[in-house]
């Protein structure tokens, strides 16, 4: 595509975007949706399969109670109504990623309907309507071989691994979201972020986009102010929070350039490309989608008991947004400071560090300072930087006990990140403890005084500021392993001066 795209500011001045998001979440149950095969990530191909998830004749599916419960809890956390009665449906299509030639899903009777999720964008609440939350089974993985490696175009055959086929998959569909204007890309990202946090707080999925346990499709359309909503496209392959934002933005720009040129938007599936940030058309739609849904005859209807649903609702954890607000208050942070904690992905880490005994200020200092810098340098998430909240709390404990000063603590932390052991072990093994032996310290002080008689005289005559040079000399001879404040007090005491 060689057309020059219009500027974003111009696009949002002339058009109004409407966005919608479909999110798929793999549940973290022990077993698959309709059989007892394990669900753990990885594993050699076709080692987690049985007659049910391979669709062998005579096998019958039975729904996983934990998956039903998890889906209801997600629905409740998203303020949905829970269906009193609903059924699974067969979605028929011709593709080998499901060995049965159909996927068990839900069609016109989803388990949860009509909810909302409030998300914060630039300090303002935006309410995103939730159309439905339904339960289905994940598909297998196809590997295309022959011709261009890994790409379906030019491939002559596909190799299929059904380990993933049948893992419970929850689909969460928003209502169309109009009226967000220039903020549409940010709203999309904020929604997926908040949804991820909500689901994580429920403990029903590890919601890791990079491992595919959270996947997102983004619908985008543009219309002129006051006119009907435009034709939408569905962008797939959006695999990170940042990509959600980029995909909406890039699709808004592309659609605007088509509309500006007098063209029409084709309703189609498009693929997002992480490297370029562009979308390209996906599969052709020459044959209209026809899934021939019908009620799944092998599974009886679900009728969640109202008492059970009420019990699940009562046991829901605090919403992440409210939880964060409470933490902000507890930690005494300004909105700006809290925002930097959020941006660093440090909320839970600080919370856990505080739970392990550190003060909020100290916990925040380590995670946002030394460890954030380290994470940025090595390009990893803060949570994967190599230090645990427990270790950070232990490190701060050593500082508070006067065993480490700030400089030594940083050195110990480097050792922790490098996997050398616990802060106490590293301090001991590398002999980094602050010299607290007063005898040794006094000797070092006397030595510094003897070596710098001129400075010593100044201090004696009342110029206490000059003591800094002596402190520096002592710190040098103790290789930084002394507490500067103690050293200063000792020097003033030896020279008969008042601090």
């Amino acid at each position: 595509m060689t057309t020059t795209l219009p500027a974003y500011d111009e696009v949002v001045a002339r058009y109004e975007p409407v966005i919608g998001l479909e999110t798929h979440v793999e549940l973290g149950t022990n077993t698959k949706m309709f059989c007892g095969c394990p669900t753990d990530f990885g594993g050699a191909p076709n080692t987690r399969v049985c007659p049910v998830c391979l669709g062998l004749p005579g096998s019958l599916p039975v729904a996983n109670k934990a998956a039903i419960e998890a889906t209801i809890r997600i629905g409740l956390a998203l303020n949905c109504s829970i269906a009193e009665w609903c059924r699974f449906a067969r979605k028929n299509y011709f593709y080998p990623d499901m060995p049965k030639n159909f996927q068990i899903s839900q069609y016109d009777e989803p388990l949860c309907v009509d909810g909302y999720l409030d998300v914060e964008v630039n300090g303002e609440l935006v309410r995103i309507g939730i159309e439905r939350v339904h339960l289905e089974e994940d598909t297998g993985k196809t590997l295309h071989v022959g011709g261009a490696t890994g790409r379906i175009h030019g491939a002559t055959e596909s190799l299929v691994d059904y380990n993933r086929a049948g893992i419970p998959l929850v689909e969460i569909v928003t209502k169309p979201v109009p009226g967000t204007g220039a903020l549409a890309p940010e709203v999309a990202r904020a929604y997926v972020t908040e949804l991820r946090d909500v689901i994580r707080s429920l403990g029903v999925s590890d919601v890791r986009m990079e491992e595919g346990s959270l996947r997102c499709d983004v619908n985008t359309s543009l219309n002129l102010p006051g006119q009907e909503w435009g034709t939408r496209t569905e962008t797939k392959n959006v695999n990170s929070l940042r990509s959600v934002e980029r995909a909406v933005r890039s699709e808004m720009l592309r659609q605007a350039s088509v509309l500006d040129a007098g063209g029409k938007i084709t309703q189609e599936t498009r693929h997002f490309h992480e490297d370029s940030g562009d979308t390209t058309p996906g599969r052709s739609k020459e044959t209209a989608t026809d899934y021939r849904y019908f009620p799944e005859p092998d599974l009886v209807p679900l009728a969640p008991d109202t008492a059970w649903v009420a019990e699940l609702k009562a046991a829901l954890p605090e919403l992440p947004r409210l939880h964060r607000r409470r933490l902000q208050k507890q930690w005494g942070l300004s909105d700006l400071d809290m925002q930097s904690v959020l941006n660093a992905g440090a909320v839970e880490l600080i919370e856990q560090t505080v739970a392990a005994g550190a003060t909020p200020a100290a916990a925040r200092k380590w995670w946002l300072g030394e460890l954030s810098r380290r994470a940025n340098e090595t390009g990893v998430e803060l949570a994967d930087v190599g230090a645990t909240p427990g270790q950070v709390a232990e490190l701060q404990g050593l500082v508070d006990a006067g065993k480490l000063n700030d400089k030594l603590a940083r050195t110990v932390l480097e050792g922790v990140v490098a996997g050398e052991g616990s802060p106490t072990e590293i301090m001991t093994n590398r002999n980094l403890e602050v010299v607290s032996d007063t005898g040794a310290l006094t000797a070092a002080v006397d030595e510094a005084i003897a070596a710098n008689p001129g400075i010593a005289d100044k201090v004696r005559s009342g110029k206490v500021a000059a003591a800094g040079a002596l402190v520096g000399a002592v710190m040098k001879t103790t290789r930084g392993q002394a507490d500067a404040k103690t050293v200063r007090e000792l020097i003033l005491e030896r020279l008969g001066a008042q601090g």
Binding site: Q103, R283, P301
Partner: protein, 101 residues
């Protein structure tokens, strides 16, 4: 009026990847029509107070606990496959299709 048209049968055949000849289309359209008309008679008997039935047993909430049950070995799983490679099922490539989810 026919319960299913020749075009609908052709459409279903295409979705199912069945190569159906023109003569077969005529035959199947006729046969399917007879079947559908017969089934439709059941619908005529059902009064307004009888809800549509999708299941023959009056049960709900047949669920199982989330406990792992040993499945098949890869060898067993692939034993019925027409072709396999790298411990995976080998199938012809499928292009231009909508996949699930």
């Amino acid at each position: 009026m026919a319960a299913i048209s020749r075009e609908e049968v052709a459409h279903l055949a295409r979705l199912s990847r069945l190569a159906v000849t023109e003569e077969e289309l005529d035959t199947f359209a006729g046969q399917l029509d007879v079947i559908l008309q017969s089934v439709a008679q059941v619908g005529e008997v059902a009064a307004a107070d009888i809800p549509p039935t999708s299941h023959s047993v009056p049960l709900t909430n047949v669920l199982r606990d989330d406990v792992v049950v040993p499945g098949l070995t890869p060898e067993e799983a692939l034993s019925g496959a027409p072709d396999a490679e790298e411990q995976r099922f080998r199938v012809p490539r499928i292009l231009d299709e909508d996949v699930a989810s």
